[in-house]
Symmetry: C5
Subunit: 379 residues, 5 copies
């Protein structure tokens, strides 16, 4: 199935992830304890500082390097990638005066998507969906929005924000004239739009499964429907709390979000609802597919049983008949005189043919040949 | 099935649409980017300008042509059809001072139905259902209501508003004495009423499926029930958010909607609830039909198995009996002396007939012949 | 089944109705357009005008005839039956100054039950359930409550209000001392009480289906459970919005409803909840019955299969054995010497009996005879 | 099953009750009409009048006899049992100035549990669960709480309040120092606690059904699970509205309930939630049990089919082989020369044994003997 | 299955507990009656009294011994373990001035998790999950938070608080500088974190069941899925009310909880939601697993039936053919002349081989060999 990159390897990949999404702290560890995964990539920082007329991009060696930019009226987007360097992350917390719990949520991935308003910061935890060579993977992106800066922390290298970076560089649209809250909106919008290609592929997968289940129901379909259901559960778990978070953002006015950006966020909100809508629709379709599959299996069993019954019902009585004439009774005149008739043998055959034709007619009358005549594969 | 225009071709058509209703923006594209489909029809504009005593209808070449009419006290209904001309749509946005996101929602179809209040405009996105040669199709209609004008933007040529146009021309009822909000109500009402014929056809299809499933359950029923479920999901997705939108319109007083029209909107609201009511009822009936089908398949299997069992159970022991007398034992006096009796052969037949009758009687006592005697087709 | 008047013919009747409950207006028709059904009965009017000490009943030729009574302090109950006379209905609208939409809702049956408060009128649309010769039918009753009058509009001749009329005539209880709102309550109460006999019959039907499904599951049960489910859906659609309407009536104080009558309406509200309670309970029982039926079908299949398997498994090996001795091998000393033994034949029989008894014992040990010994009918 | 007093007779008993819980008034009967059941027990009255230092108990001949006690500062508990004496009940209504609808609700059992606040009275309708010789039965208990009195009306003789009476007599705890509202709480608490033993028995029944369904699934289990579901529905219908009623009592402060007693009522509320929690859990377990049962039936069918298939697949080809050698072909040299070989017969046997062993090996490889070797009963 | 410590013994253990979680009071017993279980461990008390610079730990003989510490500004954590000593518990109630109902809830385990605010105390009832030698067990922990003290009452010896005690002793983090409310948060956090390891093991169990059900569906899977569902129900019952309790704690400001700690409690709240999220996801997966299992059973049955049908359908007609040539007809020229042909016997074999190959080809065309060729075990 090379035309559907979600299936099999991708599923295999996501399988590993979907079971225990949430890593837990060692019970009893103090709040703010960072849990650094050994496989995590080293932390790097990238700064884009822009105003309407200027833009500057640079790698940062340490979080402290961005301090000079934060106070400037220009918008500073500090993009942190990789959660492998505990020291860097701690000093990041200090530079941006993050609450210990916020730092913990940002670093100890995965967390449930949520919004947390602080007095001079707005923290939004989300999940980003990304294509990779085996299909798709998700990673956590945290947004920390301040007055003049936006700090984004990504679990891994690689994101769906390149288009935004190009718009910043090329000064496309109004983005360079807007504040940090608009930048946050644009990134969030790009992140949510990233769910749609995945959904489209699931839609295609469902369509393909439908064709298969109606024409040639094989055992693999059950497995694929099951994995589809599980992946949809994972998607729903990612997007449902995000919807709530954005709704909270729109409803509860926060000084860091301007009225204008709030209008744009309504658009984001609509998109999350669209994603949820489709996830729910796909879940209902997947459940229905299972029903269709089971009915196809039943039908197939029915067809098998009918074949057996027709053959057995025709030949078992005939075998009895020929068995009768195989009995070794003496030549008493009462014993099967037809054995000695001239037309005896053809008469028996005639009788047997009438019996067989009668049974076939009976089955035909009861409609047993109806759905059974054409092989199910070419339907 | 020529009497049911929804089935097969129509389903085929809707199938294509129902999987990925929502087209998505290229992730990261700036808000307000218009996505023009290559197959979209060129945009045309049609103006109806009316007051109680006058009415004027004209095609417009460009959106700018309608500017003189917008300020007049008369009601101007600007009807835009087709989303293929990007330039026209952009200038439309300028003439009506549409928010970039509104223009995006109007053009980048399909969107989820919704209401968006702006200070001097009210934007309502809906889906219209339309009969076509293969059954039905849906398209997006956007209403932008201003003080003295109503702008409607349709995805395609062809709508269900002709009756309203005729009422305007013929000055039937109060429509010409009312403002633009009343016109919006009348169009919305016509749009919602358009769902009922589709529902009626689904109702007839369910009735037909019921008859089939109870009398002659064939394999195609599963497919039809599945497609019915999917179509009902699509309908529900169209009408559910519309209900919420209209409810918001009634509850949150907006200066552009007069108290009188709000009373009429309650009627629209009732109709959307009726549509939803029926969609839900049909969904429950479709789910029940699936159960009935599965039980019919089980019953049919039961019938097949009974046939096999009755025939086998009667003839297998008899075949054993005749096999016994086919054995080539010597003429030892202990070896089947009945082979040499005068009445031996009839005795064996007598024994076999008693055995067969006994088994038939046993099956009859257990009620195996009950539901099985009459063929299921003529039930 | 003469003891259950709901079943078959009644279901047949309701079947026709339940699919497309809602008639729809021709899309685009102006609000207030009356849709007169050709089969509708001609409209007749009947007036009961009463105060504590006087009562007067009369047929009215035209709606205008009741004008003199409406202003009097006595309570006037104008009962309109049949929706066939468009002119009479229009003049009814004028006499009672009905809003065009109200008149439309009253005439264009069926509507969803609802309450609509107007300044000097309270409009309540309900469905009444009525026994008829084939079981039950429902019709729409609209209540329009004014200060001194109650207008009721019934879809058809025949209602459940005779007991109320008799109470009015006989001056039983407090009814003649009360205002029009109390009359409306009394009629509504009678209408809701009319649901209980239907529910009781459904309860009896469920009980009967339970007995059948546990003792003798036949194919008709599926059909009956399906129709039961559909009828319960219809009932729920009639009573659910009525519950909401009455709740609104109790919660939102309206000047036309006195505090005293509001206490009585709480009683009506309780009754609608009881009806809903039972409808939901019956729906869950019906769903469970379907499960029980399916398990009964499975059990029956199991029983059939066991019969087949026991007979086949015993006789097929035996048939093989006798087949062995039917082979025509030469008299080589290695070829079946037992054919020539004196005790050969009895030995073979002994061997076959031991084989058969062993298999029966084996099946008995595995418990195959347990649920199978007694015929299911006499359980 | 003597260790489970709920099953069978008890179920039989409850069966009668659970279908049509609600008796309905003759449609159209005036509010306040009492419906006296012919089988109802004659009404008796019992008074307990107590203060901290005194207690007096007496039977009352008529309701009027309790008037002297009602005004006293001491708490008067008037306990009415049996709903068979219409006259007594009417005079009870007069003595306690009950609203006609209250008297109707109290007498026309069963009603939905509810709370109704009146200015100087608080009416609470509940259902009490009582062990009886066949398991359990429910009856209605109504509480009418006044300033200095508590009137309880029980449908039948026999209640779960004896412990409370003993606490009153023995002056245990604070009960004699408290007002009537505390007495109402104590009785309500005793009534709710009465649900737990029933739940425990259902819990034991589920445990027993689990064991049976996993080890020896018999046909009776379906019936038992079905009846369990029905009984749980009945319980839920009794306790769900009671929960709402108590919640209303806690939330809406009523002058007759002191703040202290309100704290105690929170405890009652917790208990009703616990009962509901368990009812819901049991319902989910019952639904799962049904699934487990169906899978057990399928497995059993599988086992039966495997037995049949293994035996048939081994012996049918062998029977064919021996049939071949039973054919009466002439002694042409091409015709079965093995019939005349010295080792012909053993060779054929060798071939058949190899065939049979090969098939057994094939089935063993495919795992058909796995779950099938041990009989399911001893699992 | 030594790698999965939940299964089987653990399930066995929890089984006993999950049926009747709630012990009930003897109906009618006065509020505040303590129910001492005979098997309960004797009550012991342990005090940790700390401030930023000092810490003191000691066993207490009687509750009265802690009185001197309660008034001090230092934080006193009184940890009570075991509910076996009625006298100690009563005097505990007196020392901490517990409301009789609070003492009852604390002692009469298990209770539903809940929060109860009192004026100078905050009572929180929770369930703690603990690993034990057979898997996991749950016990009740009650928190009573005062101004300067925290009283915790545990059902049993053994808890998950050792890490907190070590942090207190080692003065790790800010815990020693904080008040009693922070201590309560830290303990609650440790308790909630204790759910995650259990969930992870269920996740692993689901993964293992998935592999089994797709590759080698055995009968034990049903039992394991059923027990998994039941355990998840138990977990949900423990965590769902806890979520509500914590939410209440955050929303309703209580003077004993500082604003700072309220921020930390939001983190606890997030964790309970994560636990619930996973429980719900696992429940849906378990339900899907059941479906997959049932389809696997059906497929297996199909495979069995196909084997039977293919073998029977090939050999039954062949057996008939050889039976024909075993008939003892006279040598009339019409009677099976092929018996006397030179090539007769090979001709018959040729015919039979063509018949068999034809049938096999027919089955192959219909796709019967597709999913059936490879044994399901090695899939």
């Amino acid at each position: 199935m090379p035309e559907n990159p979600i299936a099999p390897a991708a599923l295999e990949e996501e399988e590993k992830e979907s079971y225990m999404d949430y890593n837990w702290d060692q019970p009893g560890s103090p709040p703010g304890t960072l849990r650094i995964d050994e496989d995590a990539q080293p932390t790097t920082l990238y700064l884009i500082d822009y105003s309407e007329h200027e833009i500057m991009e640079t790698d940062l060696a340490t979080p402290e390097d961005c301090i000079p930019y934060l106070d400037k009226v220009s918008v500073s987007w500090v993009d942190v990638r990789g959660l492998g360097s505990e020291k860097v992350l701690h000093s990041l917390g200090k530079v941006f005066t993050l609450h210990p719990l916020v730092l913990e949520d940002v670093v100890n991935v995965p967390q449930r998507p949520k919004i947390e308003p602080y007095i001079d910061q707005l923290v939004l935890i989300t999940r980003m969906i990304l294509p990779d060579k085996e299909g798709f993977r998700t990673e956590q992106v945290s947004f920390i929005l301040g007055q003049y800066y936006l700090l984004t922390v990504q679990e891994d290298i690689g994101d769906c924000f390149d288009v935004v970076r190009r718009r910043l560089q090329a000064n496309v649209g109004v983005i360079r004239r807007q504040q940090a809250d608009y930048l946050a909106y644009v990134l969030l919008d790009a992140l949510i739009d990233g769910f749609f290609p995945v959904l489209e592929q699931y839609g295609e997968q469902i369509q393909q499964l439908e064709d298969e289940v109606l024409q040639n129901p094989s055992r693999e379909i059950v497995q694929q429907v099951y994995q589809l259901k599980r992946n949809l559960l994972t998607l729903r778990r990612a997007i449902w709390p995000l919807r709530d978070a954005i709704n909270t953002l729109i409803r509860d006015e926060h000084p860091l979000i301007s009225a204008e950006v709030r209008v744009y966020l309504r658009d984001c909100y609509d998109h999350t609802i669209q994603v949820l809508d489709m996830v729910e629709t796909y879940r209902e379709l997947a459940a229905s597919l299972m029903d269709v599959y089971l009915s196809a299996v039943s039908n197939r069993m029915n067809e098998v049983m009918k074949t057996l019954t027709i053959i057995s019902t025709i030949f078992i009585p005939l075998t009895f008949v020929v068995g009768v004439y195989g009995m070794n009774f003496d030549n008493s005149p009462l014993n099967m005189p037809e054995l000695h008739w001239y037309w005896g043998y053809p008469t028996v055959w005639g009788f047997m043919i009438i019996l067989a034709v009668g049974l076939v007619y009976y089955f035909w009358k009861r409609g047993w040949f109806e759905n059974w005549a054409q092989p199910p594969k070419d339907e």
